[in-house]
């Protein structure tokens, strides 16, 4: 399995960054970047990462099962992550999540039929000071209200 030249370069750098014999440290970053390119964590990808990091596929599989941000199925083009952990919950995070469910018509880790949106209820993402927080792909959105979320989703729908 090969990746784009940019990603290959990044992986090569990554493997060099860890001391000799500690290449297994690259498993998590390799998975997350590969997921962005491949779309999801496929069995083939697990084998490939295991091979590159010198570990058994089972050990990579353990990591995939452990981290909720690694997905075995493709998520939507825009992956909407709503925090319902304590700080966000106190200022309406749960209502925001319920609103997102209604607006998008999908539930936790589900994808809209057109594949454009997916939704995930997530734990703390370290944005407590700006709660309630929403993360769409890698972008943070602070002090989100249901109205603000609707605008966001609308703008993404139009973005193509």
């Amino acid at each position: 399995m090969t990746f784009s030249p940019a990603l290959e370069e990044r992986f090569a750098q990554m493997l060099r960054a860890y001391p000799e014999g500690r290449q297994r440290s690259a498993v998590v970053p390799m998975l997350i970047y590969a997921q962005d390119e491949v779309g999801s964590i496929t069995p083939e990808l697990i084998e490939e990462v295991a091979r590159r990091c010198g570990v058994d596929p089972l050990q990579v599989d353990e990591v995939v099962g452990y981290y909720s941000m690694l997905h075995r199925r493709p998520m939507g083009k825009y992956h909407v992550q709503v925090c319902t952990n304590i700080s966000c919950m106190l200022v309406g995070g749960e209502q925001l999540y319920e609103h997102a469910r209604k607006t998008l018509g999908i539930g936790h880790k589900e994808v809209t039929p057109d594949g454009r949106f997916s939704l995930e209820e997530v734990e703390c993402m370290g944005a407590c000071s700006w709660a309630p927080a929403v993360q769409i792909n890698y972008d943070f959105h602070h002090f989100v209200t249901p109205e603000k979320l609707d605008q966001l989703i609308d703008s993404l729908r139009k973005a193509q």
């Binding site: 058994d56 089972l58 353990e62 099962g65 452990y66």
Partner: protein, 679 residues
């Protein structure tokens, strides 16, 4: 003298080496800190939180299994707050744990039961439904019952670190995390069962033992495994005259807890339906059962007759019978039958090995040496396949002492994974090896003994050697003189001799791939089964297996250990008893055929076997030192049977478990050994 620190545990002044973990320091002082995940020899996990202790001047409870002792530390291991914490941990562990103790294999020897008995609460505050997952079968050996699992990771670590197989992992997180096998829904591994034995609860159970008995109904017999030459102690659980379980949880013996599939499970040949239980006499094309007295009379009469008319005898001994039996057989052949034609299937070139090392001290490595040496060179052997204990020792040496493992083999072997250097031939490794502080060289079937020893000697560092042989008493058979010394015929020469008068085969199957040239030869075979060789016999005598007899065996490293009989199989007699009966009937006076009496004679007369009796009697392994003198070259071939983890010569045919695992015949790791696979 290592640096020590002084601390107080439960009011007791304790001194421990700096860096010692608190749980170990307490244990050494006779204070038990309970734990599930902590396991001596494996990496630290700190997952179970059972070993929480109170350390003064530390605000929170500390994890005893990862906390190094410090000067002036004051520890309380049984204070009210500690007890409360343990109770809480147990309540958590029991949230999804089913209450099926009455039918669980582990009931009665379960660590969770013991802990709950000591610290647990009578009731749980959890009202939620228990999460249930159905039991899974991962292989003929391994079954997994997820709800019973307490996620201590012991199985994962013993498989990854101890065995070097990496067949188990943990999937998911939180309440749905569970142990998973390496092939999605099944295991592809050594099938050694170490994960099952190490499991503190009944989450991993074995296909052989599960639902067979309650642990306390068994009698436990510590004896020596009868398969490969490593000489692992296996503790057989016996109920109603049947072996139900093999393990070595008490860590007695040179192997500690280690056993492979053969030591743990391949005792099942003992009650194989084809086991011979009556002497058989040739009757035309077939056999008819006869009484022991008739069979012994016939053998003695024919042997005497052949002896009187000056006929030639051939005697083939076994790789599995005891030292006493081998010694008595050799004596009977030479003194009783007057023949030098005695041999066995020689699987390692011990004659060259001993001769090359003649006169030296400290040249023979013990099993322990493979764990303690600074470096180990494995020459021409697939150690994990053929000598699982020695491989386990070398692996542990790497983990615990950062030892250097070198492999010199024509193909890939498992040791490559953690070896310091590997090469096709020894010379490539010379520079590195010469820089080691000391070295153990393992001489495998693909290495030439004399050349390898010459190479080792030329390195200029202290070297100890092991010459690999295949079976449980291959070494003993050689040491006891079941070899054609002084001009006798080798095994091959006996089979090829056109006018051989009698062939006496004890616990061997030489006619599996060979023909007996002599048509008129009177053939007597002592064996457990009607093998190819037994089918050619005139008289077949049903023999007892190693699990049914007393006596001693010598392992690959020359360590003598004692067998203890676990069961009796009706109709079968030990080979020593059979020799005694035939000798008596022939009118020979060769001494009393009792194991202890014969062993006394061995201690007096066999070189290197003047071993301390108390060591052997108490279940220890006594090293032999057979290096005081030259050893003559022997005619005939030396060939390893090329067994794998899942074959054991002819015996493996009669082990259901060895034949049922998908890995059989063990091609998983790249078949390196030559030979016929022995099936």
């Amino acid at each position: 003298m290592p640096e020590t620190v002084k601390l107080t545990i439960d009011g007791k002044a304790v001194e421990a080496e700096k860096g010692t973990l608190l749980i170990e320091a307490a244990r050494a002082a006779g204070i038990e800190i309970p734990s599930f995940c902590y396991y001596e020899g494996l990496t630290l996990q700190a997952a179970c939180r059972m070993c929480l202790v109170e350390v003064e001047k530390t605000p929170k409870l500390q994890v005893g299994c990862t906390l190094p002792v410090a000067e002036g530390m004051v520890v309380h291991t049984e204070s009210a707050v500690v007890k409360q914490a343990r109770k809480g941990m147990l309540e958590f562990l029991l949230t999804n744990h089913p209450l099926d103790c009455p039918v669980c294999d582990k009931g009665g020897e379960c660590e969770l039961q013991d802990m709950v008995f000591r610290y647990g609460a009578g009731e749980s505050r959890f009202l939620e439904r228990k999460v249930h997952v159905d039991e899974k079968q991962w292989s003929p050996v391994v079954f997994f019952d997820a709800p019973r699992c307490i996620l201590c990771y012991r199985c994962v670590r013993i498989c990854n670190e101890g065995m070097g197989v990496n067949a188990l992992g943990v999937a998911n997180r939180g309440v749905i995390s569970e142990i998973v096998p390496n092939r999605h829904d099944h295991l592809e591994c050594d099938e050694c069962g170490a994960c099952i034995d190490i499991c503190p609860v009944g989450a991993l159970t074995s296909g052989i033992y599960r639902y067979q008995t309650r642990p306390w109904e068994m009698r436990h017999v510590g004896t020596i495994c009868t398969h490969c030459a490593d000489g692992c102690r296996t503790t057989l659980g016996v109920r109603n005259g049947k072996i139900i379980r093999g393990n070595n949880r008490d860590r007695s013996g040179i192997n500690g807890e280690f056993l492979c599939i053969k030591g743990r499970y391949a005792f099942d040949f003992v009650d194989h339906p084809e086991r011979l239980q009556s002497p058989l006499m040739r009757c035309g094309e077939g056999f008819e059962p006869v009484s022991w007295s008739k069979a012994v009379e016939t053998v003695a009469a024919r042997f005497n007759e052949i002896k009187v008319r000056g006929g030639e005898f051939g005697v083939i001994g076994s790789n599995h019978t005891t030292n006493e039996e081998n010694f008595f057989l050799a004596k009977m052949a030479r003194q009783g039958l007057g023949t030098k034609n005695i041999d066995h299937h020689r699987t390692g070139d011990l004659a060259a090995f001993f001769d090359a090392l003649a006169g030296r001290k400290d040249a023979l490595a013990s099993t322990q040496d493979l764990y303690l040496a600074k470096a180990v060179l494995i020459a021409g052997a697939d150690l994990s396949q053929q000598h699982p204990l020695l491989a386990f020792q070398a692996r542990a040496n790497v983990r615990h002492h950062a030892a250097h493992i070198y492999t010199a083999a024509p193909g890939p072997v498992r040791e490559d994974k953690y070896s310091f250097a590997r090469a096709q031939n020894l010379e490539e490794l010379r520079d590195k090896l010469a820089r080691e502080e000391n070295l153990v060289i393992v001489i495998g079937p693909l290495a030439e003994a004399r050349r390898t020893i010459a190479f080792g000697d030329s390195l200029g560092v202290p070297v100890k050697y092991v010459c690999l042989v295949d079976y449980s008493n291959s070494r003993g058979a050689f040491d006891m003189g079941v070899v054609p010394r002084g001009g006798g015929k080798s095994l091959e020469q006996m089979l090829a001799a056109p006018d051989l008068g009698a062939l006496w085969v004890v616990g061997a199957n030489p006619l599996k791939n060979a023909e007996l040239a002599s048509r008129q030869a009177f053939v007597v075979v002592q064996d457990l089964f009607l093998t190819e060789t037994a089918r050619r016999a005139d008289i077949v005598l049903p023999a007892a297996s190693a699990y049914e007899k007393s006596g001693t065996v010598t392992n690959v490293c020359g360590e003598v250990q004692k067998l203890r009989p676990a069961v009796k199989v009706m109709g079968a007699k030990t080979d020593l008893e059979i020799f005694g009966l035939i000798a008596k009937e022939m009118g020979l006076h060769l001494g009393i055929p009792l194991p202890d009496k014969v062993f006394e004679e061995i201690r007096r007369t066999v070189r290197g076997y003047d071993v301390p009796l108390p060591v052997i009697e108490t279940g220890g392994a006594a090293p032999t030192a057979p290096l005081n003198g030259r050893v003559e070259e022997l005619p005939g071939a030396v060939r390893s049977a090329g067994d794998t983890l899942f074959t054991s010569g002819t015996l493996s045919r009669y082990s259901k478990i060895l034949n049922s695992v998908m890995e059989a015949p063990g091609a998983l790791y790249g078949g390196l050994a030559p030979g016929d696979g022995s099936r």
